[in-house]
């Protein structure tokens, strides 16, 4: 099973700036945090899910969010770091609002995990959201199952799953079906139902 690496953002902020508060502010601080995170992601093994924990983080401004999250997600989607995934957790409503605005502006999406729920920040087409919901409910899914569940043509279901995987919102792993043919299984980033 692929590793899940949790990074405490406050530890990263502490390395970059001196102060009593853990605020993610200014584009310059964002750039140095981005470089630090990029290094960690590059070192992680293939298939690793990086979870950024926002515990104790104060304010986050738009410039800093743009510099960290929009750049990381864009580069992940462009396959610059190999098969790695990013998710966020422990966000306050303020964090969610500001990151959502930035991701929306950049036409990107990122997953947020809470204790028992999940959420997508940024822009995600309705049909992809519906597919993501189905995967989150089941924990994992293949094209024939999705096709049956949502009453879709097989190639449509397959295309939806592939698109979600390209956006790094679900993981894709090769498998063999009952007939012995090669197929792909798409599963949640944590490998569990949500």
């Amino acid at each position: 099973m692929a590793a899940v690496v949790t990074i405490q953002l406050k530890d990263v902020v502490r390395r970059q700036v001196k102060g009593r508060y853990y605020d993610l502010v200014t584009r310059q601080i964002g750039k140095s945090i981005f470089r630090h995170l990029e290094e960690k992601i590059a070192k992680a093994g293939s298939g690793t899910v990086i979870i950024l924990d926002f515990a104790d983080i104060g304010a986050i401004d738009y410039s800093c969010a743009d510099e960290i999250f929009a750049r990381l997600v864009r580069r992940l989607q462009l396959d610059e770091y190999g098969e790695k995934y990013l998710a966020l957790k422990g966000l306050s409503p303020h964090h969610k609002e500001n990151i959502d605005i930035v991701m929306e502006k950049n036409d990107l999406a990122v997953l947020v995990y809470e204790k028992r729920t999940w959420e997508v920040l940024g822009s995600l087409d309705n049909y992809l959201f519906q597919t993501l919901e189905a995967i989150m409910d089941a924990g994992q899914m293949s094209s024939p199952v999705l096709s049956q569940q949502l009453d879709l043509a097989l190639n449509t279901a397959s295309m939806r799953l592939r698109n979600l995987s390209k956006l790094r919102l679900v993981k894709k792993r090769p498998a063999t079906n009952d007939g012995g043919k090669r197929c792909f299984i798409y599963e949640t980033l944590t490998g569990r139902r949500n």
Binding site: V17, K18, G19, R20, Y21, D23, V25, T26, R27, Q28, I29, G58, A59, I60, D61, Y62, S63, C64, D66, E67, A70, S92, H94, N98, I101, V102, K105, N106, D107
Partner: protein, 299 residues
Amino acid sequence: MTESVRLTVPPVFTHNSFEYFLGQLPEGLSAGGCCVFDFRVVTGMTAFGVLSLLILCETLSSLGIKVSVDSRDNQPVKDMLAQWGFSQFFPQEEGAVSGQGHSSRIVLPITPIQGEQDVYEVISALRDSIPMSPRQATDLVVVVSEIAQNIMEHSSAKGYIAVGRHRRRARQDMVDICVADGGVGMGQSLKEKLAYVDRRYLDSFAIYKALYEGLSRHDEPGRGNGIVKTRELVRKHGGRLSLRSGRAKIWGTVSFWQIERVLKKQLCFLPGTQVHIEFPLSRELPQYAEELNLDTSPA
């Protein structure tokens, strides 16, 4: 013969009276001239007043014009200038300032902004000195950081921040934030993107485009977002924002169809960009109330 000009500073020196004050400056003032700012009738000044004055003093000095402040017989104004830290950045000769003490209206005296660590320290100082709810604190931090970092990103000059406090209506406390620099200004920063605009209206058009449409000189999609969202945040809290750059100024957080009413063009030239924000502190209980789980709901 050395040309000498005496400018009277208005009794209450704010963003509005600053325009009157700047209008007194003669057009043909040249190097070797002398400019005296008469502070004898001043009774109060806001963060915007004191920072814009500092930018003006620095600009005139860089042009070779001698500037001095005359505050004779007005001890309160001497104290006020000293408390704002004006005399630290611009020492005067006439009526030397010797003020002591601290005014409750000054939250943060003039502080230079040269790097991201400066912005971080300013934000920490504001968090420590203004009692706010967590929601207000995070929004205020975003507003200050988005405006202050523009100095490093766009102005190519040293900038300053000063924060004051006043009471607008009964029991309505306001935080006065002013961020100013004497750099290139918005018109010059965006002139390549606005090459089609008449030079006379470049500053006003640049203000409109940046504040309402998020125009930035950078092409990346995430750029230019900060100032637009800052305006929306200030508006959401019921505050006001004024932005002056070059020869233009906007005052208010109105919708775009009302912009003609609040956008002033063809004003006296002042280099750089000066932003003034009035951010209301609501009557919510401060941070510790939420931490102690006090019941804050109305009875």
